[in-house]
């Protein structure tokens, strides 16, 4: 039987984010394994994974994606890690008229106007992060917020999404601060936010939305915002970063995935197998990769034939089970809508990292994720 070829296209060298790519690929492989009960076959055809490296360069990514579609004749491709690289890849899918599943790149724009009907996205987007975060704050008239984000599209979009989630709740954003990417010293901006908040009444929160390093929360916490009654709020993070959350016991926020936060058979299997094989619990990108694989597997099982158009029809509106519950590809822009985890930080000296304990699952339909693009 002819194998079904799938290309995994991620950045595997040239940036320290390569570790995330590897998680995504591990997750994908485990997802296929789970979906095929270890046979690695769907409808009697073996799955063949072709792995390619974008080197975190959009031009290289375009070339290897084109190669996957054109020379390797894969059925569909999955990728990539960084948003910029992935944006560059979108038109190639259209050119070759083959499906591209975006995972784990985050940006909203990947399902935006520049995207096309060949693109599906299983990863979350920034709007989900920030809306979930806003909901986790349980906003009301009593809430005053200062926001801190990095000064580029990702940061500004995130804050916009956050504000739109606060709309109508009565909560007030009194300061919006943006720092250059790569900022490592937050004293100045913290002073600005303190000055904006300290004389306000109510629950005062600094919301931090910074993807890069720099440890803004830790540094602002070190300036003791509690003396003005200000608390810090931020979303959850990948496991390697969670040790730094030990400084924020009791903090509440929302996160894409934490292995103890989701309770379903797929996640149980994933956690158990991952612990057994790698000695560590699965992280964001493992779960993401697995979700993408499960989507592919379901589509392949259900589609009557493997023409691209048939697959697209099958996948539009499709719901499937993942380690973090049910996801659904929204028909309009092919973004997978998904649940998020509302957590509260618990510090346990016996655990190396801070534990984001589940408060509740924020169901997908509670969030109002803007539609990026409408099909034709």
């Amino acid at each position: 039987q002819d194998p079904i070829k799938i290309a995994l296209i991620h950045g595997l060298s040239g940036s320290s984010f390569e570790a995330f790519s590897k998680q995504a690929q591990t997750g994908f492989e485990m997802g296929i394994e789970y979906a095929t009960d270890g046979t690695n076959e769907i409808n009697g055809r073996p799955i063949e994974l072709i792995i390619k490296d974008t080197q975190f360069k959009p031009d290289v990514a375009r070339a290897v994606l084109a190669e996957a579609y054109g020379d390797d004749e894969v059925l569909l491709a999955v990728g990539a890690t960084s948003s910029g690289v992935t944006v560059g890849m979108l038109p190639i899918a259209e050119e070759y008229e083959k499906i591209l599943i975006v995972e784990p790149a985050v940006a909203d724009s990947l399902t935006g106007p520049d995207s096309n009907r060949y693109v599906f996205k299983t990863s979350r987007n920034s709007s989900m992060d920030m809306q979930a975060q806003a909901l986790a704050l349980q906003p009301d008239e009593n809430l005053v917020v200062a926001t801190l984000a990095e000064d580029y599209a990702f940061g500004r979009d995130g804050i916009a999404a956050f504000k739109s989630a606060l709309d109508g709740s009565g909560a007030e954003v009194v300061a919006e601060e943006y720092v250059p990417q790569g900022t490592t010293d937050f004293t100045a901006v913290a002073e600005r936010m303190f000055n904006a908040l300290k004389d306000k009444e109510g629950r005062k929160v600094i919301l931090i939305y910074i993807a890069g390093g720099g440890d803004a929360p830790g540094k602002i916490q070190a300036m003791d915002p509690s003396r003005y009654g200000i608390e810090i709020s931020m979303g959850g993070h990948i496991l390697p970063v969670l040790p730094t959350y030990k400084r924020f016991p009791g903090m509440e926020g929302a996160v894409y995935y934490y292995y103890e936060g989701f309770d379903n058979p797929i996640n149980d299997w994933l956690v158990k197998e991952h612990m057994a094989r790698f000695g560590t619990p699965p992280d964001f990108f493992t779960a993401g990769g697995m979700s993408a694989a499960l989507a592919v597997a379901k589509a392949l099982k259900e589609a009557p034939d493997y023409e691209t158009d048939t697959l697209i029809e099958t996948m539009e509106g499709m719901s499937w089970e993942t380690p973090k519950g049910t996801m659904t590809f929204r028909p309009e822009d092919h973004q997978a809508l998904q649940d998020m985890l509302h957590f509260k930080i618990r510090v346990d000296e016996g655990v190396d990292w801070a534990i984001p304990e589940k408060v509740r699952i924020i169901p997908a339909d509670e969030m109002d994720i803007p539609i990026g693009r409408t099909n034709d």
Partner: protein, 356 residues
Amino acid sequence: MTNGFTGTLAIKGIVLIIAALLLFAPFLFQDVRSIEVAARICIFIVLVASFDLLIGYTGIVSFAHTMFFGFGAYGAAILLKQMGPGWTPVLLGALAGVAVSLVMAVAIGLLSLRVKAIFFAMITLAAASVVLVLASQLSQFTGGEDGITYKAPDLFKPATKLLSDADGKVLRLFDVRLNGKLASYYFVFLSCLVLFVLMLRFTGSPLGTVLKAIRENEARAEAIGYRVVAYRTFVFCLSATIASLAGTIYAVWLKYTGPDTSLSFAIMIDILLMVVIGGMGTMWGAVIGAVLLVMAQYYLRDLMGAAAEAVASVPLLPELLNPDRWLFWLGIIFILLVYFFPKGIAGTVMARDRTT
């Protein structure tokens, strides 16, 4: 002296072969990746050669070369995005890119009159990083980190039929479809060829000799009557213009422009690597360097994968040959090259002629 020029001949021969391979690339290698690689090689040859005008011929160390490349790329990209596909935006974009490049080059060039070479290098580095940040901040024009995708002129659409047979299907020549993709490749190839030949003429001209003299001994060049400042500013502008044009060509070819394809420091490092590997101060070196490094970027990984499998039973070796560590090896090879072939490949081979 008599058996002299074998080295130079060898290098020229290799360059000619490369040129022939590039000319027939679409017919010789019919897979997708090869064409991408070939186009990238063409563009980087021009980019590296224009950088060599600065570093190799005139002895100016600049880290702003990708900035000029980026101006050209973004010029075309933004206009193609705003105005839709067509030749006017490409031309206007090229012009705009060159204009901005010239303004910046003159401004930076005038600064260079006052400060030491190494400080000049740092200023260019600073300018380049400011532009990089600007590109990410002015996201409404530049698409920010994510860059912009757009459509190239209709002629280059893969669906365009250059020639069609009786049924209206695209005609094939030696099994190669004569479609827009092919046109696009030859657009890249020919424009790069023209730019490269122009630069070749520059370096062989009296102007080229003056540049070398400035590199060797600036004060003495001034003393025998050359206005060093004017010459330096001129090459800086010239090299910026060519880099900018190369950027425009790349933008048209790629149909995507973003910081990582046109502005990032990684490209600057690539350019430096290519110049050094090929050999500074000779245009042939640019060709050889660009070919080798682009090939390495696209194939070294696969090669290492194969090698790692081949030695899978040996301990440690497969770990070291892990394809994801290909940059490690590139770095090592690079150090060895600088160490053992300070003049680069072309320079070393050609230097033999002198000593015989």
